[in-house]
Symmetry: C2
């Protein structure tokens, strides 16, 4: 079907509706919508295969607006497709509306939130990877990008990965409208520049006039028929196209059009085009991976030593054997995070993301769009590289699992560039997050198994060094729980640790005990959510708490504990031991000592608190 | 001078010393050092102009190891140049040594810390920008990159910006040794791939055998003589070159060589080459920008309304007029952050970084290497994109100033993708950081002026909405201070806000006062460092504290306040008001109300605390 006239008419309607919606809202980005309207008109009318009545249909194509600020265009498409009413279109940006300023999955047809530029394409790569290697279905991923966002390195990670993975099920539509928020982009209408760069990476490229529906039609057809590589339609467009007062003019980014009625008249009034969007053919079922019947987690002997990072890899491999929906990504450090244990056993569901943490986070988000359960790992320090992607994953209501290894000063000689000392703060401050920090191998294995079915952003912090196995492989660990490792009726102080500091806390308790000071020890493996009841009880019993963390003093374990007590009926005294000086290189033991988070420092702190109680108060649990 | 034999000999010595240092340490990355040894030998012997006795000499070249894990090579170069002794070389990675696992400015010849891959080149772009546009001196920036790190998008931001800015004072040396940490890179020895990509971006490229000193010599000469564009030497190298047991073999990344003595014998034993590194010519002085004699900050009338973001721009322009060392960067949102006020007035010292926040942070770090005082701005939410760069900037002991605008739900309709709700947590948890969050325009102006001379990572959070001007333009605001805005002898509760919530706190105090409840109000504009004394006094006086923040509950204002009290002699009850549910679109007032951080919510919290004290206790200040 090549109905140029109706496509043009649809394009104008998408413009008109973008103007109407943003004018009703008094804000929004109509001009950024108008540049891509013809591109999206042809897509909607002819190329997109999507069942709006069944957004979870596995055969649906995926359309991601990487330039999320063009949201009025997306919503205008929904109206043209009959998915939303005109009234709802005009609720854009109003309190309670699903039509937010930038798209979010509050709308069932939106896979992921966009609006932080440079993320839609990397996420699209993740969906396309799921289509190729996991679902093994022929759905297509369409990504509309802006040109300003092509300055984000993450876009070039995505271009490279798409080519490296031969993602011919991905079509990127580059809306080159020349103008950014405050002026011209670096390359203006130099389409050849982008063409050269993309060709150099191995993409098939097609340069067109993005307002010529015949050229758009031909380009999409060429993109769809391209085999073995992804295709990019590089479209020269005009920002604000169709309305002379704003077209190709600077100064109108992110503003409703002043005289909307005149603009609509100039666009030819309000056509009323309805589109019956083609549904997918629904051929075949998503691929399912074979698994063995039951989960057999690794078991470690008490008293032995093992690194929690190793337990992560072992448990992940076990989980992958039992569950076909578990998939694993790693950023070229799988021999350090031990994701390699999974990779060797289950190569079909392992994704090597190289040193591209933003693309790795985005790919995980893309895969969970299709219901897969991604676990992604790198050094904890390097997850800071993907923090914006993790923040936005929460806005996407994404369910992803992240493992950060080599946390804290206890990594030793490698020095501060490799030490995560802010990751607990960063991950705690993500909406929907769970933050776990196990202290031994058996606990790690149990938590990894639980992570698979947790919603939201789930973070697991692992340790480089081998630590004593202190729990039985048969113990269970609940999210939001903790373990009281030392407890007597005479406890005079409580030491709260997690991960590596649990072992320092135990050593300290032993030494304090020799002095006649009974110390309660709590393993706070679930930093968020936090075990309020156990902490409140410890506060009531001992009145004094020492928190110990291999992390800066801000936003980590100590402040998580303080937040429990702030609002409680009674507040204990809380002394926070944390890393305060910038470390250099040293052995792990030296680092813990120098940072004053080792057993000796805990003993000193407990003595300073000077709350030795010679006889135990009765405990009421 | 083309002394091939001595260069080869120096290359072998650099290998031998890399092996010796890492073997003495028992860890490190000798094989990653060995691939680049010949490249660095020729650089040191012929091309680098550097006065090791005067590392702050403005005429010195700059050498940045973007592949920071090749640190033993860098230290071996220092020994060959006579900058460190052999004994110090062998202190590598030991406690107290300046020779850390990855380079840091603990050594005076190291400009910036590296070791988080993908950062050295973007920082090098910043130094080169300083050379071209600020210092206006002919020093050259040499950056040694790995090949694994070429998968980081940030590297491609750097390649693009270097070309866009015509940085012919920058030479990138790409050490393509084919092997990453756990296996082959995406492109192995496909040098043509990188050549195509760099040419497409506008770089001059030279492909060579990275172990042929004649080719290296010719390539560096060509790079140095390239005008109008940056040059890349793309060198095919062998990881572990010269030692058969490890050369071009997988599995030896980041490990000391097992039989070091045999390896050294295989390399021809220990030559003892000393290099007299050429000093710079010291021609000319660094450019200095003209300024007017005194700082005239903008002044806003009390009772008027102005956005703190606008005051940021106004103050920055004033600061720039008075100080020639202040430079400004922005990520293509200068009309929102109001960095444009500076840009229009002082285009020579304004750097448009487009939508590339990682490159922006890195450029700021690069410019401060040369003593400039960078202020960099974007939406606060998008600084999360550069979090790893900010973390590493702290390790670099960098002094940079970051402004994040449009913080919190109070931005209104744009929705959660544009709302920073984790930035206080993220920036508090950075070593050396200062976190400021002004509530009015005059306060903002005063703080911006103070920022110029603050060390470390200084973060200023600004607000989109116009807020009442509550301070006189003559008031001073100290870093680490606060302002008590309401205070009576009968205060029964303390409300602590910052930024936009200060105004809600004042409204709440007025309403509570009508009920006969006296509330102290504290403007905690300095979130880090924090005004302990004022908070402790308020706690002693009122016993109950409400914190109110436009931020998630974790790691922000509330937890900063809790950390003051944890360890105090007495702990007040602290109720934390913060954003808890994921926002959508709504007006700013609706957002504050829905998040329960508006005046009404504060009033409710104060009443719930139910600590009305009919008569005032005497205050002891």
């Amino acid at each position: 079907m090549t109905d140029y006239a109706s496509w043009r008419s649809l394009g104008q309607q998408l413009r008109v509706d973008s103007i109407r919606a943003s004018s009703a809202a008094g804000s929004g980005h109509p001009t950024s919508a108008m540049s891509a309207a013809d591109l999206m008109a042809v897509l909607l009318a002819k190329y997109l295969h999507y069942d709006f009545a069944a957004p979870k249909n596995p055969h649906n194509d995926h359309l991601i607006f990487s330039k999320g600020h063009a949201s009025p265009l997306l919503y205008a498409m929904y109206r043209a497709a009959g998915a939303i009413s005109d009234d709802e279109l005009l609720s854009y940006r109003k309190r309670g509306s699903r039509l937010e300023g930038h798209p979010t999955p509050a709308l069932p047809w939106v896979d992921v939130a966009t609006g932080s530029l440079g993320q839609g394409l990397p996420i699209g790569v993740g969906v396309a990877l799921a289509g190729k290697r996991l679902d093994r279905l022929p759905y297509r991923v369409w990504v509309l990008t802006g040109d300003s966002e092509l300055a984000e390195g993450s876009m070039w990670e995505a271009f490279e990965h798409a080519s490296h993975e031969d993602l011919d099920n991905l079509t990127a539509v580059l809306d080159i409208n020349r103008l950014g928020q405050r002026g011209e982009t670096m390359h203006g209408w130099d389409l050849d520049y982008f063409d050269r760069r993309l060709k150099a990476i191995g993409w098939h490229t097609i340069e067109i006039d993005g307002h010529d529906v015949a050229q758009i039609d031909a380009a999409f057809a060429e993109g769809v028929s391209t085999k073995g590589k992804p295709a990019a339609v590089i479209a020269r467009t005009i920002k604000g196209k169709g309305v002379a007062a704003v077209a190709d003019k600077n100064g109108f980014h992110g503003k409703a059009i002043e005289d909307a009625d005149a603009a609509i008249r100039e666009l030819g009034g309000r056509p009323d085009v309805s589109i019956v969007v083609a549904k997918p053919t629904n051929d075949g079922a998503p691929h399912r991976f074979e698994t063995r019947p039951s989960l057999e987690l690794p078991r470690y002997d008490r008293g032995a030593k093992e690194a929690t990072r190793k337990a992560y890899g072992d448990a992940l491999a076990a989980l992958g054997a039992a569950r076909g929906d578990v998939v694993v990504l790693d950023g070229e450090v799988s021999n350090s995070t031990y994701a390699e244990v999974f990779a060797k056993q289950t190569p079909d569901r392992y994704f090597e993301m190289y040193i591209a943490e933003q693309q790795m986070a985005a790919a995980a988000v893309g895969m969970q769009v299709r219901g897969w359960k991604p676990f992604a790992s790198s050094f904890a320090a390097f997850w800071s590289r993907a923090y914006d992607f993790i923040r936005m994953a929460a806005v996407s209501r994404a369910n992803i699992r992240i493992c950060g290894s080599h946390a804290g000063v206890s990594i030793g000689e490698d020095g501060p560039s490799q030490m995560a000392l802010e990751d607990l703060a960063a991950f705690r401050a993500v909406w929907s997050s769970t933050v776990l920090y196990p202290s031994d191998a058996n606990q790690t294995a149990k938590l990894v198994a639980r992570m698979a079915d947790l919603d939201g952003i789930v973070y697991l912090r692992t340790t480089r060094e081998k630590t004593p196995v202190i729990y039985s492989p048969d113990e269970e660990f609940l999210i939001g729980g903790s373990r009281v490792l030392r407890r007597t009726a005479a406890d005079a102080v409580t030491i709260v640790g997690a991960g590596i500091t649990v072992h320092e806390a135990l050593k300290a308790a032993d030494r304090l005990s020799e002095d006649g000071i009974a110390a309660r020890v709590i393993d706070l493996f679930s930093v968020k959510p936090i075990d309020r009841a156990t902490l409140l009880e410890a506060a009531a019993d001992t009145g004094a708490i020492i928190t110990v963390e291999d992390h800066w003093p801000e936003g980590g374990l100590g402040e998580a504990v303080l937040s429990v007590f702030g609002d409680a009926d009674e507040q204990p005294r809380v002394m926070k031991l944390a890393v305060r000086a910038l470390p250099g290189s040293a052995t792990p033991a030296q680092q813990l000592a120098d940072a004053r988070i080792d057993a000796a420092a805990i003993v000193d702190a407990a003595r300073a608190l000077a709350v030795y109680r010679p006889s135990g108060a009765s405990l009421t649990r």
